[in-house]
Symmetry: C2
Subunit: 596 residues, 2 copies
């Protein structure tokens, strides 16, 4: 062959190419023999095309084609021909044509892969992760990575156009005292000292504001050494943004624009703006969650006032003891079997409730253990509050306010799924605002910052920092989408007296604060501008864009729940010599046998 | 003030705004008092504008303005007015106008900064690094970071347009056996095991080719725990690129286009293409360097043939002993004083030469210690070979070939600078090709790969892998610019038999190779396509674009030569508890006192 490299991509060929001679490259997807002809499906990044080898046209090529196997890498020269009407494959993008093979060169051979290279492959995820390079050959994975690429480019173009400057911040930095566990990196040059990998570029982006950068962004890797859940990775990617001299309202609407453009340009979704807003308080009350899935209703309704003197003692005593009674309406579920009712009750208990009371509005009248304890008036009021119709099932939880919200919030999500109330094609964005600034830790006997210690309190709450820190609301906002938090940010403290009050509430003297946040505190004394920012969880956004439900499917080389890479087998033991140079040694594993 | 945030940027205001009311934000650059008026220069990211406060217009604003100090953060409302002709400042972009201040709000105060916030600041770099947030306020630093941002966007747009997909590869990965020292990250979950920070995404980008990604790029942080030179950082940024199914020639010309677009779109430089090409051998012979500065001539000339039987014994014996005699022509330098000649001779010795012979072509005849030993014919031949005119100074080094090239290569650079031969505005790009594949390490008694063990040999040299590995040339290429290597890449081995021969030459059995490169070797058995790639040193490219000569000036938060960050004081000691969780402990510092 004169040149073995492609003139066209496989997936690009159609009737407009008929009669042209082309060279294509790619991997053998399928080979079959049919009446003396050899058919190969050749796949490249763009798609698949069928190539037919006829010994009467080229004996040599047909002979070679007969020997190739799945995943061989080929170069093929041939002519694009129309398929006969009966062989047209409408399911294939290139199904109206095929390539008549004239020359074939095997660029590389392949062993038989451990699983089929196709979208609906039935194989354990651990095998896919071990052979990630083959897993990524599957079209669905290629599409996801391309989508991720596109989303990155769109975000950058938007931010660039809006005057944000991309600045790279250090990966080898200083361990931060508050927050999640750091990944540490021992220093060879400085005996006994360590770098930390950044949990976020928070401090650096704020310093860039002090430095007058005014608008900063970065699509940046961050690290948290936490026990992993399904939707966490030890390293993850953030779209990190910070801006000075901008009204928070202007900033939020710019961020809405960014996200809208991201969804528009990648999956063609038209995102209505402005986004719905809910205060943290409201989100918790109505959805039992600070990242509510707004694709369906079934809101939590507070019935405490109605049942506070109810004959159902559990309700009455809960309310009088400072607790709440709230309920959700599982519409049309009055007909649940005893078993179904019990199962949901058990779920509620697993989630932390003492029990799940229920009231079914049946044709034949009210059913449920609480029915007989409720007065007619109470039932009527509950019916109105819950918008209950015949056929509906009301589920109650009575407990401490937080438990009630947590349990009903989670039940709501599971019921929404189970009752098919969720439009999987819908995207419901919202801002959650006015988060509590601080949370009291009983064990440590002190307050901790919910976001970080540089988050600005709401102006009207600043005096509460001294008198009732738990009540202080933050100028903090999360962007939520379909039950996920996709971004979180805040206005930052730029004035010294507010920062001092904040540290005092956290139980630090200014001396201690200076020790921990030294250079940051220094920096803020040289003219910090008013500023704020946000960080978007990029992996999660890609997951939602791609309509996937596993974060690992949206990352090229992800880690497992034990933070391992099954392909490279990282982490792994290293040479003693390497550790010597770093002035560290591994401790002996604690023995689980006890001496007698 | 109704809104304290800007309607205009400071640097944007000009005569077209005269008569408009504006709000501006920024930092006080300068304050001065003049005949009862207060003048403030206000600076933001875009530039500086003068604001004048007249107590007769606003007493309150003038009173406040009188109190502000350098680096205070202000919001100012005022009217843009024309300056009177005698006060126009032609050096200032906004020098035809000023803002008549009507309201002023101090958004934040500032302590007196430790150095002046201006371009030509005379302060030790360590102070600038400690107060980096102030250093980055200086316009020259802002311009450099903006240039860096622009360069990133241009590179990404070019690569996106050309079908390259941006894929993020892991930062927590596996320690690689060959190459520079890794930064290690202890694992908390896996006792005694470590991640390594990537020296480059080399393995991952090749696996992405196996996975059919076809064209990949990433602007990515890489890490090397090496002793730092002025132009090295422990973490640095690469534009990392890999492509499959592409003729190396096509790839190189695409990379030329990328770089040309980068220089065109950022600094408006028109880069001629194709780039000059030099083989490694040729570059070493003619410039004594594999990254020659081609902005000036003064090439190294091999005179061995001419002087091999010279009466100057050092020359003759060097040649007969297998060495070389080469020279450069310091044009117009025949008039050097004895002291100058001695200084250059001493430099040559410091660089490793035994001495520096010289021959001055003076009006009054030949001068120099070797003159009397050379025959008339030898002088004539040397004169022709060196293109020597009256007034020229020829400098000779006679030694082992490598020493000759190293010493004269470095002398050439220093003389080029000292004689003002270098056009500082010029950019001379070239490709250096055909690098040696392997280098023999006397100490270890084995060959090492010069690039990495997956670099493809030149086809015609493959048989030499068995017979004479040191002679094998690689399909490797560096892009050089003005004496810097700005990129390096190669075609990769994708065929098993070549990879086996390579490992054999490196002294590995396939078993050992599999142990070290296990998953990589596996991956290559499932249909690796022909592929190759390159990595550009982005920090260095920015440095050259910005016309700077210190890499640290082109990185927002750089580290010192001892890999410290003077601002955050990273690395630093950490809590014993953190180390416990990571199952490591710091070794005791070796005592330098010896027991008697």
């Amino acid at each position: 062959m004169k040149s073995v490299y492609r003139t066209h991509h496989c997936g690009q060929l159609d009737k407009s190419h008929v009669g042209q001679e082309v060279v294509i490259n790619g991997w053998v997807q399928k080979r079959r023999d049919l009446g003396g002809l050899i058919f190969l499906d050749l796949r490249d990044r763009s798609g698949v095309v069928q190539v037919v080898f006829n010994p009467e046209i080229s004996e040599e090529a047909a002979r070679l084609a007969d020997k190739v196997r799945s995943q061989y890498v080929l170069a093929i020269r041939g002519e694009v021909i129309e398929r006969s009407p009966d062989t047209i494959n409408p399911k294939m993008k290139t199904g109206e044509i095929e390539v008549q093979g004239k020359e074939l060169e095997v660029l590389n051979e392949s062993k038989t892969p451990p699983f089929m290279i196709e979208d609906d492959v039935d194989v354990d995820e651990t095998v896919r992760l071990k052979y990630r390079y083959l897993d990524l050959r599957r079209p669905v994975m290629q599409r996801t990575l391309q989508l991720r690429h596109q989303a990155m480019q769109v975000a950058r173009r938007f931010l660039d156009r809006n005057g944000f400057v991309e600045v790279e911040t250090p990966m080898l930095t200083k361990s931060t005292p508050e927050g999640a566990r750091d990944y540490l990196v021992p220093s060879r040059v400085h005996h006994g000292e360590f770098y930390a990998l950044p949990q976020s570029p928070q401090i650096f982006k704020q310093l860039l504001m002090v430095s007058g950068m005014e608008r900063y962004f970065q699509i940046v890797r961050c690290f948290r050494d936490e026990d992993l859940r399904a939707d966490r990775q030890p390293e993850f990617t953030q779209i990190d943004i910070e801006a000075s001299f901008l009204e928070p309202e202007q900033f939020l609407s710019m961020m809405e624009e960014l996200v809208a453009e991201l969804f528009q340009e990648t999956i063609g979704l038209d995102v209505p703006r402005p986004f719905q807003r809910l205060t943290y308080q409201e989100a918790m009350e109505r959805y039992g969650s600070d990242k509510p899935d707004l694709r369906f209703g079934m809101e939590l309704v507070d019935l405490s006032e109605i049942v506070k003197e109810s004959g159902f003692k559990v309700f009455a005593s809960t309310v009088s003891g400072g607790g709440k009674v709230k309920a959700i309406n599982a519409k049309g579920s009055a007909g649940w079997s005893r078993k179904e009712v019990d199962q949901w009750g058990q779920t509620a208990q697993e989630l932390g409730a003492k029990g799940l009371a229920w009231l079914a509005f049946k044709e034949e009248g009210l059913k449920g253990p609480v029915a007989k304890f409720l007065s007619e008036d109470e039932v009527a009021q509950i019916g109105r509050a819950m918008d209950a119709q015949t056929g509906d099932m009301i589920l109650f939880v009575a407990d401490k306010p937080q438990t009630v919200n947590d349990v009903l919030g989670e039940l709501r999500l599971r019921l929404g799924k189970s009752l098919n109330l969720i439009d999987e094609k819908a995207f419901r964005f919202a801002w959650i605002t006015e988060f509590p600034l601080l949370t009291y830790d009983e064990e440590d006997g002190r307050y901790y910052a919910n976001h970080h210690p540089f988050t600005m309190p709401m102006e009207e709450d600043i005096p509460l920092l001294e008198t009732d820190p738990g009540k202080v609301r933050a100028q903090a906002y999360d962007m939520v989408l379909n039950g996920y938090e996709i971004g979180g940010g805040s206005q930052r403290i730029h004035r010294r007296e507010v920062q001092e009050a904040m540290f005092k509430a956290l139980g630090f003297t200014m001396e201690e604060a200076r020790e921990q946040f030294g250079f940051m505190m220094d920096a803020f004394e040289y003219g910090a501008p008013p500023h704020g920012g946000i960080a978007f969880g990029f992996d999660r956004i890609v997951m939602l864009l791609a309509g996937r439900n596993n974060l690992r499917d949206c990352i090229a080389f992800p880690k497992t729940a034990s933070a391992s890479c099954l392909m490279t087998e990282a982490p792994s033991p290293v040479d003693e010599k390497q550790l010597d140079e770093l002035h560290i040694q591994v401790k002996e594993k604690p023995s689980h046998k006890k001496e007698i």
